[in-house]
C-alpha cells in the first residue's frame, strides 16, 4: 500500500507544473506578507520607535509588577501632560509609550479583574438558570465560569507579530487554489489516459488504488497546507523581527479577550494550523469526489471553483457557518467569542462542533469516493469508443 501511495503521489503531485505553482504561490505569499508588514507594523511605519522600544522593554516589559507600572506612569504622565501626541512632534516619546507600553499594560493589568467579573456573573447566571429549570443555559454558564475563573496576563510581551499573523488569510486562498489545481486531475487523469480500464483489471486497481489516491491526496493537501501555514509564521516572525509572545495566553491579544481558549499563543498557532488544515482537507476531498465523478478536467475544475466560491460567499454573508468548512479556514472567528451549540442539551463549543462536522464530512466524502471507485466500472455504460 505504501508503494502505491508513493506512486500515486509521484504521478499526480511531483510534477513540474504543480511544483512550479507551489513555488510561485510561496513567493506571492511572501510578497503579500511583506505588504502587511509595511502597511501595519508600527516599527515599519515609524522605524525610529523600534530602537527606543528595545531600550525601554527591559524596564517595563516582561513580568508585570506594581513597581514597573508605577515607574512607567511616573515617566509617561509628565510627558503626556506637556503637549500633543502626534507623530513627528517633540512629544512623540509619549505617543510611543502610550502605544507600546501604557495601553497594553493597562489591558493586561485589568484583564484579571474583568475575567473574574465575567466568571462571577456566569456563576450567578448558572444558579439563576438552575432555579428556573433551564439546564442547558445553566450548564453553559457553568462552563463560561470555569473558563474565565482563573485568567490573568502576567507578562507584557511584544505580540505585534502574532496580532497580524493571526489575522492573515491570504495564504488560505492560495492553498485552496493549489488544492483545486493538484486534486482536480487525480481521478480524471486515469480516464483521460484510458488507464482506468487497465486499473480495473488488476487485483489492487479498484478500491485499493482509489484508497492510495485518497491517501496520497491527503498527504499532498496536508503538506501544502502546513508548508504555507509554517511559511506564514516564519515570514511574519522574520519580518517583524521577533517570535516573542508565544508563551503569553491567547487572550493577551485584545481580539481574543473573550476567547473560550486559555492556551498560549504558540499552542493556539498550532491549533489554528490544524483546524485550517482540516478545513482544507474537507475542500480537498470534495474536489477529489468531483474528480471521481467527472470524465474531463473541466467539470470538476468549474465545480470546485463554484463550490469553494459559494462557501466563501455564504460565510461572508453571515449565513450559518457551523457546517461550512470556511469557518475552520478563518478559525480566529471561532475563538473571538465564547459560543456554544446546543447538542441535545449539552453545550458544545462552536469550534469543536465545526471540527466534528468537518471530520464527519471528510469521512463521508472519502467513503463516497471509495464506494464509487469500487463500483463505477461495472456500471459504466460503454467501453472506450468502440462498442
Amino acid at each position: 500500500m505504501i508503494r502505491q501511495i508513493y506512486f500515486e503521489f509521484r504521478k499526480h503531485f511531483l510534477k513540474f507544473p504543480v511544483c512550479a505553482a507551489v513555488i510561485l504561490f510561496l513567493l506571492l505569499d511572501a510578497f503579500q506578507i511583506s505588504g502587511v508588514y509595511q502597511e501595519k507594523s508600527i516599527f515599519a511605519l515609524i522605524p525610529k520607535w523600534q530602537t527606543r522600544y528595545e531600550n525601554l522593554y527591559p524596564l517595563y516589559g516582561g513580568p508585570i509588577t506594581e513597581k514597573k507600572i508605577r515607574d512607567l506612569m511616573a515617566y509617561y504622565r509628565p510627558l503626556k501632560a506637556e503637549g500633543n501626541l502626534h507623530p513627528g512632534s517633540e512629544y512623540e516619546e509619549a505617543l510611543m509609550l502610550q502605544t507600546c507600553f501604557v495601553i497594553p499594560l493597562q489591558y493586561a493589568y485589568e484583564y484579571r479583574q474583568n475575567a473574574a467579573q465575567i466568571a462571577k456573573r456566569a456563576l450567578e447566571n448558572a444558579d439563576f438558570y438552575q432555579q428556573m429549570g433551564n439546564i442547558y443555559a445553566s450548564r453553559k454558564n457553568q462552563q463560561i465560569a470555569g473558563m474565565f475563573s482563573d485568567r490573568r496576563i502576567s507578562e507584557l510581551c511584544y505580540t505585534e507579530m502574532y496580532q497580524h499573523y493571526l489575522q492573515y488569510d491570504f495564504s488560505v486562498f492560495l492553498v485552496l487554489l493549489l488544492v483545486i489545481y493538484g486534486l482536480v486531475n487525480v481521478f480524471v487523469l486515469e480516464k483521460e489516459t484510458e488507464m482506468e480500464l487497465l486499473l480495473q483489471t488488476t487485483i489492487q486497481g479498484k478500491r485499493k488504488s482509489a484508497a492510495a489516491k485518497l491517501l496520497a491526496s491527503v498527504i499532498f493537501v496536508t503538506a501544502i497546507s502546513l508548508l504555507f501555514w509554517l511559511a506564514d509564521f516564519l515570514l511574519f516572525g522574520c519580518l517583524f523581527g521577533s517570535f516573542d509572545g508565544g508563551n503569553c495566553p491567547i487572550y493577551a491579544i485584545e481580539y481574543f479577550e473573550a476567547s473560550p481558549l486559555s492556551m498560549s499563543l504558540l499552542f493556539y498557532t498550532l491549533l489554528a494550523m490544524g483546524l485550517k488544515t482540516a478545513g482544507t482537507l474537507v475542500f480537498g476531498m470534495a474536489v477529489l469526489l468531483l474528480s471521481r465523478l467527472c470524465k474531463s478536467t473541466l467539470f470538476p475544475f468549474v465545480g470546485s471553483i463554484l463550490l469553494i466560491g459559494s462557501c466563501l460567499l455564504a460565510y461572508d454573508a453571515d449565513l450559518p457557518s457551523v457546517c461550512n468548512p470556511v469557518s475552520l479556514l478563518i478559525c480566529r472567528e471561532l475563538f473571538h467569542w465564547v459560543d456554544f451549540i446546543d447538542l441535545a442539551g449539552i453545550p458544545v463549543l462552536t469550534w469543536q462542533f465545526c471540527l466534528g462536522t468537518a471530520l464527519l464530512m471528510l469521512v463521508i466524502f472519502s467513503a463516497a469516493i471509495l464506494m464509487i471507485s469500487g463500483h463505477s466500472a461495472r456500471k459504466s455504460s460503454r467501453g472506450a469508443g468502440d462498442v
Binding site: 506512486f7 489492487q204 472506450a384
Partner: protein, 295 residues
C-alpha cells in the same frame, strides 16, 4: 486453460450490442475481427469484468468467472485501446507501479520487468519518461505490463492501431511469441494483423458472431467469390461502384479491380485466390447490390 462464452448477450435498454455470443477458446491466438461498432470492445469489457453482461455465462476451465471473483484477475493480462499511460513516469517506474497493482512482490516484479523489457526491446529505454516514447515503444510497454503477472489469457484491444508498418510487424511477432501456452484474444479491425498470427478468427458483426474458424477455412469458404478484372478505361469502373471492391490499382494498362461477389461480375473477370481481407469484406461490409442472404 479453456474459456467458454455461453450465450453472452449485452443490452443497452432495448438495443442489443452483443447477441448470444457463444465461443470456446483454448491455447493460441484468437483474432476478434469486426468493423467498428461490431461489439468487440463490449465483449472484451465483459470478459475482463468491467462490464456486466445482460445474460449468458463465462466459464474458465468450467468454473463461472463470477464465482472466481478477483482471483480471475490473476489469470488475465490486458492492454486497452489507445492507452497513454503516465507521461511523467519512466518505463521502469511504470512497470513497478503495475507490479504493485497486480500484487507482485518487489523482487519478483523487478526480475520480470527486466525479462519483459528485454523481450520487448525496451531495456535501453527503461529510464526514459513514457512521454518521450514513440507510439510503437508505448505499445510494446503496454504488452510488457500486460505480461507482468504471467497471465493465462492475454487480451489486446486494437493493439496495433496507429503504428507504422515496421512497428506493426514487430508487435505481431511479439504477440506470437507471447502466445505459447496461453490464450491471446486480439481484437482488431486491421485484417493483416490477424491473418499472419491468428490460429482462429472470430468474425463479429452487429454483436453477432458470424464465424469462428481457422483463417484457411475462412478463405476457403469464399473460394469462388473473389474476382479480378482489368478495365482499360477508368470511367468503366463506375458500373462496379456498388460492389465490394477490395482493391483498385491504376496503371498504364488501365484499372485492376479485385472484387468480392457471389457471381462473376463480368465476363472478362477471372477468379482469384481469396485472402482474409476478402473474407472480412464478404461477411462484414454492406453490399448494396449483392442480395446474398447470410443468415
Amino acid at each position: 486453460m479453456k474459456t467458454e462464452f455461453q450465450n453472452v448477450s449485452k443490452y443497452y435498454g432495448r438495443k442489443c450490442v452483443l447477441n448470444q455470443f457463444t465461443a470456446t477458446l483454448e491455447h493460441g491466438v484468437y483474432g476478434l475481427l469486426g468493423p467498428n461498432g461490431a461489439g468487440k470492445t463490449t465483449l472484451i469489457n465483459i470478459f475482463i469484468g468491467i462490464l456486466q453482461k445482460s445474460s449468458g455465462s463465462l466459464l474458465i476451465d468450467g468454473q463461472d468467472v463470477e464465482k472466481l471473483g478477483t482471483e480471475f484477475l490473476n489469470h488475465i493480462g490486458y492492454l486497452p485501446q489507445y492507452p497513454q499511460f503516465y507521461k511523467n513516469f519512466t518505463v521502469e517506474d511504470f512497470m513497478a507501479y503495475i507490479c504493485g497493482l497486480k500484487d507482485i512482490p518487489k523482487t519478483i516484479g523487478r526480475r520480470r520487468t527486466e525479462e519483459l523489457l528485454e523481450m520487448v526491446n525496451l531495456t535501453e529505454h527503461r529510464r526514459k519518461k513514457i512521454g518521450a516514447l514513440s507510439g510503437g515503444m508505448r505499445q510494446r510497454l503496454g504488452i510488457a505490463q500486460a505480461m507482468l503477472n504471467r497471465p493465462d489469457i492475454l487480451i489486446l484491444d486494437e493493439p496495433t492501431a496507429g503504428l507504422d508498418p515496421q512497428e506493426r510487424i514487430r508487435f505481431r511477432n511479439l504477440i506470437s511469441r507471447f502466445s505459447a501456452d496461453r490464450i491471446v484474444l486480439l481484437a482488431t479491425h486491421i485484417v493483416p494483423d490477424v491473418e499472419f498470427i491468428a490460429n482462429e478468427v472470430l468474425l463479429l458483426k452487429d454483436g453477432i458472431l458470424l464465424k469462428q474458424a481457422r483463417p484457411g477455412v475462412l478463405t476457403q469458404s469464399i473460394a469462388d467469390k473473389v474476382w479480378e478484372l482489368t478495365l482499360p478505361d477508368p470511367q468503366m469502373t463506375k458500373q462496379f461502384d456498388a460492389m465490394r471492391i477490395s482493391s483498385m490499382i491504376h496503371d498504364a494498362d488501365g484499372v485492376h479491380l479485385r472484387m468480392v461477389c457471389e457471381n462473376c461480375p463480368d465476363e472478362k473477370a477471372s477468379p482469384a485466390l481469396p485472402n482474409l481481407e476478402d473474407v472480412f469484406l464478404y461477411y462484414c461490409s454492406e453490399d448494396k447490390n449483392d442480395t446474398t442472404n447470410l443468415f
